[in-house]
């Protein structure tokens, strides 16, 4: 057997078209599919998958991006923390461009504040070692996928007895917002495709409740176009055969149980918060994690309690990110989309994150890659 050429094989046009034909043949009712994760939104837009599917399939974009859902008050925490020149604030990815109430971490950095963007939480340890006289605060973001890395860094900090590392935890969970969206009954959703990399850690089992409660199939899907198309086919077949199940399409790496070692590491250091505010959606119970009380000496929210503001802040009046994340609007419905709001100068976070729905529509909205 030859070496797997992952990218080539899973982007193969012929396979995508073949699956598209099968879907058209087998579909027997309209199906609204929510892709929970912006990674999937990106794939759907980039490869023009919508055009390859029958009209009965509609995509609704979900709340699945830790960048998109970060409320302004949490960004403001980061901004406050980087004002003290004895502190270094470290974070991942697009986070630094998300607008807070008055500024963003990127703007603070350009003013000379100590904000560092890293590609791996491992770098936090290095930065702390190189700066023993500074307090290094890791502004941790991400779903279940990135949570174990933070736990791993906490473990290394404790093992090496470092005293200058603190954690501002913004780790959120995937199932609670799905439940909140289904409970609100505003969006009409028949099925979900779930992000595979979350389930590499958690297992596919986290969706069982959702399928049982709402009779909506969930297919845990990979991010390549072939993966997404196959997942849609699986959903179509579930409806055709009268099944409602959690299915794993991405068997290359996802199991029902997930990565138990990573799960245990998360359990060791984190507990569920009573509530967390999601940008545009509002407070969702039990939807995020925080550091356990016994490790609160590492928790930036405890250690820097006296300087952190704690007032909820409204989103920009014109931005409808909230409705997009709730599945009741599309980026084109926003009056300022592509005009006052562009990736270079985003008003809302859906335009900031490269996986945000608005950013994906802006970048790929005019492409029809696999036109037949």
């Amino acid at each position: 057997m030859g070496k797997v050429d992952f990218l080539k094989d899973f982007r193969d046009k012929e396979k995508i078209l073949a699956i598209s034909k099968l879907i058209k043949k087998e579909i027997d009712r309209p199906i609204n599919v929510m892709e929970v994760c912006g990674g999937h939104t990106h794939t759907i837009m980039k490869y023009g998958l919508k055009q390859l599917l029958p009209q009965e399939i509609d995509f609704i974009h979900g709340p699945g991006c830790p960048v998109c859902i970060m409320p302004k008050e949490r960004i403001d925490h980061g901004i406050v923390l980087c004002q003290d020149e004895k502190n270094i604030l470290v974070t991942l990815g697009d986070m630094i461009r998300v607008p807070g109430s008055e500024s963003s971490l990127a703007k603070e950095r350009s003013k000379g504040k100590n904000v560092k963007m890293v590609y791996s939480p491992l770098d936090v340890l290095k930065i702390a070692q190189e700066n023993p006289n500074k307090k290094v605060i890791y502004f941790a973001i991400g779903f279940e996928t990135t949570t174990p890395m933070t736990a791993s860094v906490i473990e290394k900090v404790l093992e090496s007895k470092m005293k200058n590392v603190f954690f501002h935890i913004n780790h959120v969970l995937v199932p609670p917002p799905i439940k909140a969206i289904m409970e609100s009954k505003e969006a009409k959703i028949d099925a979900f495709i779930g992000p595979s990399h979350v389930s590499v850690i958690t297992g596919a089992k986290i969706y069982k409740d959702i399928v049982d409660s709402y009779k909506t199939p969930v297919v845990v899907a990979g991010f390549e176009p072939v993966d997404v198309m196959e997942s849609i086919l699986r959903i179509v077949r579930q409806f055709k055969e009268g099944r409602r199940e959690v299915e794993i399409q991405y068997t290359r790496a996802v199991t029902w149980e997930g990565n138990v070692k990573a799960q245990n590491l998360i359990k060791k250091y984190f507990e569920v918060r009573d509530e967390f505010r999601w940008r545009g959606i509002g407070d969702i119970p039990f939807s995020a994690l925080k550091i356990k009380e016994e490790f609160s000496f590492l928790d930036a929210e405890v250690v820097f309690k006296d300087i952190l503001p704690n007032k909820p802040i409204d989103d920009h009046k014109l931005c409808i990110c909230g409705d997009i994340l709730k599945g009741i609007a599309k980026p084109y419905d926003c009056k300022v989309f592509g005009k006052a709001c562009k990736p270079e100068n985003p008003l809302g976070s859906c335009m900031v994150s490269s996986e945000g729905a608005c950013a994906a529509y802006y970048k790929y909205g005019n492409l029809e890659v696999y036109k037949q």
Binding site: Y119, R252, A253, K261
Partner: protein, 80 residues
């Protein structure tokens, strides 16, 4: 942000780290979160500098085979 890329393990070190090859780019990653041991030549999924699971290469090949069948089936059907 959650996207992770399949990479081939090139070299393993005693301190739970490894060098992996991601589409031709070599980088150092942590193996701290991997539940099972890996060998040089195994595929792993990397996310923000950590290997999070071994890729099941057999499964990868298996799903490719299914796709081949779909294509063949369709070709026969439509006489293409």
């Amino acid at each position: 942000m959650c996207l992770s890329i399949p990479s081939r393990v090139e070299e393993i070190f005693p301190d739970e780290t490894a060098i992996v090859d991601t589409m031709g780019v070599k980088r150092k990653v942590s193996l701290h979160l991997l539940p099972e041991p890996v060998d040089v030549g195994d595929y792993v999924l990397i996310h923000v500098g950590y290997a999070i699971t071994k890729m099941n290469e057999e499964d990868a090949l298996e799903s490719l085979k299914i796709y081949e069948e779909i294509v063949k089936h369709l070709e026969e059907e439509s006489g293409e």
